[in-house]
Symmetry: C2
Subunit: 366 residues, 2 copies
């Protein structure tokens, strides 16, 4: 496919940062939760090195926060996820699959217990708000569910801590991974969490006042000048190298969490009221697919994303990219498990690739 | 904003027609229900005249069909909409707002009673599947809910009937508006409905076999050569001139159907079990906004879409376009009703525009 223009309208919602993103020369967007998500500013590879070497500021407002509050909020959150949330600490982020009654993945958000009886579901790309409202109404739960007026801004890269500390102060380095503090910017306290959709380290600032969006953006770029701060966005190369999953790409509502290797985030034996647990207990070990990594020495092409072997479809490629660092062509693919049990390689177009576990282990690969 | 590239991935799903759409030279897409929706092939104005004068073929696969089947299917559909569906006829399309328990708009689909206990919800851009599944699980309803393997292809324009008749036969002209027939293409019966997102007349073909997508596309272009058939998509100029609403643009989940002028599609006094009716009965007449048309003699600019009068925000522009036919700048705007009661014009940047009812009445305007 050649490049196509994105037709932008109010349905593809702008964010409080969009004016700055545009002024910074954004070249591409995708649409995520009905909102603009900047994808690149120079090109994927150049953006990749900047992210890995310095620090970037990302407008990830599209990580909408579905706020569930009220006396039954914890009960509803637990219904939606097979991960035991009973020991969650206030201010902590918990990566948790959301699964329906058949075990299908509805979303894979970060759950944040913002306060007692006040949860934020920091969602991937699907309307979790509608599902939550449907469940709450059907079960007659005493909750309020809304898309909160929160617009996350990510600061990612090895110099992120330095930059965020300059802007939010000396409490920043003490924040542990997936923990947060309420810190002030221009007199307004907002949540700052050590998190983000890269493995380069960094923070997400949960902006709660749209009028502070441009001042915050400007301050980060001013304070980060000597750190070579640049605008960026979730980077395809970095996230595939790091094995970070993307809901809608690598998996969707037709897949269950076992197929995606999310076993560690499911408490199958917990005594919790979670709507997907009966189905997941029954599926365990019997799932058909497994998300795997593919590694080739050169780029390969999969017509219609299909992976063919022995004249049958044995899987499909979900994400793929050339890794400039490792000089390998990397893919994430949903593979049939019966094929995996007998095969560790794959031949595409005469080129032999290795089928490996995720995340990629580049020490083993080289 | 200058043009931006859409970063396409598997999350922005391709359709069975995408290869043909690409070969036909599509220049822009938007993302709709997590799927690619072609927006223009030459430019909006050129595409507009082709649509109004001849016939176009549109890949509207993104109008996903949420299929609700089973003994409780009609009960669930009725719960979701305040429109009385009890007299629906098989094969008929019903435009119907979906509203939640607070009266907020969840979607504005066309409901199709495909068979007894088998409904298709032909959705606008929100994950109705999740809401429906949440409600069904909460209420313990005996239904199956899935995104059906259906990919609508629209044929729109004054010559659409001629073209569709050539491909699907002589039963086509007898199909009334929002009615359908099961007609065969290459031996496979599929639903053909007189419908579509334009006022130029036409049909939607509910393709139910992806292997027939390219043969169907090719046949329409071959048979339509002398009719000047062209590829197209929902056209911003045409749909605004025609007053066709776009969920997510003109209204969203924060609005209720009265604000959008959808009163005719709500059976407020019907004896039906619809979850939004109590709220809608209470809101009626007390809603804050009204979706109106704005007409200016030349293009005007609304910073941040805000409509300012008497130093206060009195509304916001949701969609806007220059009409080459009427030589007017047209907008749809959510206006505060208290402003409307005293004002029939609006001054923007020194230019005076008229505030009019929707759909636009161009005989009155000229």
């Amino acid at each position: 496919m050649t490049d196509k223009i994105l037709s932008i309208s109010r349905r593809t919602r702008a964010t409080p940062f969009t004016r700055r993103v545009e002024a910074a020369g954004v070249k591409g967007y995708t649409v995520y939760n009905h909102m603009l998500l900047p994808t690149f500013f120079t090109n994927n590879e150049d953006d990749y090195w900047s992210l890995c070497q310095n620090v970037q500021v990302w407008d990830v407002s599209c990580e909408r926060q579905i706020e569930v509050s009220g006396p039954d909020s914890e009960r509803l959150i637990q219904l939606m996820t097979p991960r035991d949330i009973s020991r969650a600490v206030i201010g902590q982020g918990l990566y948790a699959p959301l699964c329906d009654e058949s075990g299908g993945l509805v979303n894979d958000p970060v759950l944040i217990k913002f306060a007692n009886n006040d949860w934020w579901v920091s969602i991937a790309d699907s309307d979790v708000r509608l599902w939550a409202r449907g469940l709450a109404h059907g079960f007659g739960l005493d909750v309020k569910i809304r898309e909160a007026a929160i617009w996350p801004l990510a600061v990612q890269g090895p110099r992120a801590e330095q930059l965020v500390t300059r802007v939010f102060g000396n409490e920043v380095p003490g924040i542990r991974f997936f923990r947060s503090k309420m810190l002030e910017f221009r007199g307004k306290a907002m949540m700052v969490m050590r998190s983000g959709y890269s493995k380069q380290g960094g923070f997400e600032i949960y902006l709660n006042d749209p009028d502070l969006a441009e001042p915050l953006w400007d301050e980060l770029f001013e304070q980060g000048q000597d750190l070579n701060v640049r605008p960026g966005g979730p980077n395809l190369i970095e996230r595939i190298e790091s094995g970070l999953l993307s809901y809608g790409n690598d998996m969707n509502f037709t897949h269950n969490p076992f197929e995606c290797g999310l076993d560690a985030f499911i408490d199958l034996d917990a005594d919790i009221e979670s709507m997907s647990l009966p189905a997941l207990r029954a599926i365990r070990g019997k799932h058909v697919h497994q998300l795997m990594g593919l590694v080739f020495d050169e780029a390969v092409f999969f017509p219609d994303f299909a992976i063919i072997a022995d004249d049958r479809v044995v899987g499909d490629v979900r994400s793929q990219v050339w890794s400039p660092r490792y000089q390998k062509y990397l893919a994430m693919a949903m593979m049939k498990r019966d094929f995996l049990s007998a095969n560790e390689t794959l031949t595409v177009d005469g080129k032999i690739g290795n089928i490996v576990d995720l995340p990629f282990d580049f020490d083993a690969i080289r």
